[in-house]
């Protein structure tokens, strides 16, 4: 099977976000970049599928030279090769999806995994964009997944208030949710092997961003509370404030 996993190079969750001088991008200085945590579930799902059915897992990433570090992490986890779509320009989700589809459509892909969202721009869009562009079914936010011999997919998705079970068939795009599996840690052997695995570089075709960013701002600083009480004796005052001041009860 030709298994593809879309991965993103993103700031880790504890990074302090500083808006760059231009006011339209995040300043990368001082940020530690990681493999998007949700994509790890996708990689693990891809690796398990390969172990069950044979084939090859390719990790794809769109971005500048520096994203190769993240591709190497995917290779260290067990992906067989990397596909780096090289661009220095910030692309919106539509542009990233378009570049990925161009890159893989002639490589007889059988399945495409991605994380439910990338923790930088929180787009949640890749699974649907890729699915529709490829004219494949797409299943998002999957917390349980199984594949039958004939390619039938049974999945469980998280929805408000519970779960939804869905049925579909490969080829499909699947976005992965926390809890789907336990992503394996790259062992030293894997990290060493990753250095020798191939990362193919390709250039995407021209794309004009559809999203026009006007600016990035820090959210308004919430003022610290107007009333901080000191124990059960202050509960009455809290309730009074919730009623009279906040007017929510």
């Amino acid at each position: 099977m030709n298994i593809f996993v879309c991965i993103s190079h993103v700031p880790d969750t504890t990074s302090k976000v500083v808006i760059g001088a231009g006011g339209k991008e995040i300043d990368p200085a001082g940020i530690t970049y990681i493999l998007n945590p949700y994509d790890e579930f996708g990689l693990e799902a891809g690796l398990q599928l390969k172990e069950a059915r044979g084939g090859e897992v390719t990790a794809i990433c769109v971005g500048p030279e520096v994203v190769k570090e993240t591709i190497r992490k995917a290779l260290a986890m067990g992906a067989d090769k990397g596909l780096h779509i090289v661009t220095d320009e910030m692309r919106d989700s539509f542009g990233v999806a378009k570049a990925i589809v161009e890159a893989i459509k002639d490589r007889t892909p059988d399945v495409l995994f991605c994380g439910r969202q990338s923790i930088d721009y929180d787009g949640w869009q890749m699974v649907g964009l890729l699915g529709e562009m490829l004219q494949w079914p797409s299943i998002s936010v999957v917390s349980k997944l199984s594949f039958a011999e004939d390619g039938t997919i049974t999945a469980e998705r998280d929805i408000e208030g519970g779960k939804e079970t869905v049925a579909s068939k490969l080829p499909a795009v699947i976005s992965t949710q926390k809890g789907l599996n336990n992503p394996r840690y790259p062992k030293l052997q894997g990290i060493m092997a990753a250095k020798r695995k191939p990362i193919e570089e390709i250039l995407p075709s021209e794309y004009q961003n559809r999203v026009h960013v006007l600016d990035l701002k820090k959210p308004p600083i919430k003022q610290a509370g107007s009333f901080i009480g000191k124990g059960p004796d202050d509960v009455a005052e809290l309730v009074r404030l919730l009623h009279e001041e906040a007017k929510i009860i």
């Binding site: 539509f94 929180d122 869009q125 797409s138 208030g161 026009h212 509370g225 107007s226 124990g231």
Partner: protein, 323 residues
Amino acid sequence: MNILVFIEQRDGTIKKSSFEAVKVASEIASETGGSVTAVVAGSHVRNIQNLGGYGASKVLHVADALVDQYSSTAYSKLVHDAVMKSQAHVVFLSATSAGKDLAPRLAVKCDGAVAMDVTSLHVDGGALIATRPIFAGKALETLTLQTDVQIFTLRPNVFSAGTPTESMCPVEALSIEFSESDFSVKTTGTSISSEKIDVAEASMIVSGGRGLQGPEHWYLVEDLASVLGAATGASRAVVDAGWRPHPEQVGQTGKTVSPTLYIACGISGAVQHLAGMSSSKVIVAVNKDKDAPIFQIADYGIVGDAFEVLPVLTDTLKQFLGK
């Protein structure tokens, strides 16, 4: 600027977040000119004409049992048809599980673009300007979509649905020729926990963290939630520890919520938790540690032991609310 609003229903009842989306659409359309059309799918949807009370001038109804259950491929087809029919250049959906799933497929069909999880929207010089949180809410991105069809998913419970008027609007049947291939993803079942309100849809949440010291003390959180008619939420630490189920988790790797009231009990306020709840309208914190970061964003708080404070809070509210 004609706007199409996707209406979500569950078991025949229209979701509150859909009313919010119609209301926003009608406010925008009254500024820019243009009509507000709603589209709803399902054979047993009730009170569709009431959408008029929120500002819809017409509803397109795909009253086909085949689409009683959500399917990303079938729904993106029917909403696309509705876009064409209503000549809409703007589409609103709620940023719910279905909305987030549907919007990007629709964007490709319409050759448009999506802004996901929008928390503020206004018109400037004829263009729609949207603001959305990024980096788990550590920054806000303001943007426009430079496409003929612009799709926005609106964060639930941020925009007000207001009070509906008595207006009813006409409901027009929209018939779609579905083929088997339109159902390449099929919902085969749903299991909804009917006793509990989901945190993502609740207008009030009482949330617990490690300060509760164990799952056996969760009745303190549940009793308070019950008096308020609130949902119960949890921090990542207690979900990872197995005290509470993952669907209750609020935070960067859980759910993002914007309730009217969020009461954080025994939660210190790690950045990743705040990412999930900082847009709550009113935040109350109860924590033994006066230096807990949660107090920096709480509107009101009590520095005290949750075991002492919560029962008193529950009783006081019970009396206050006459329960």
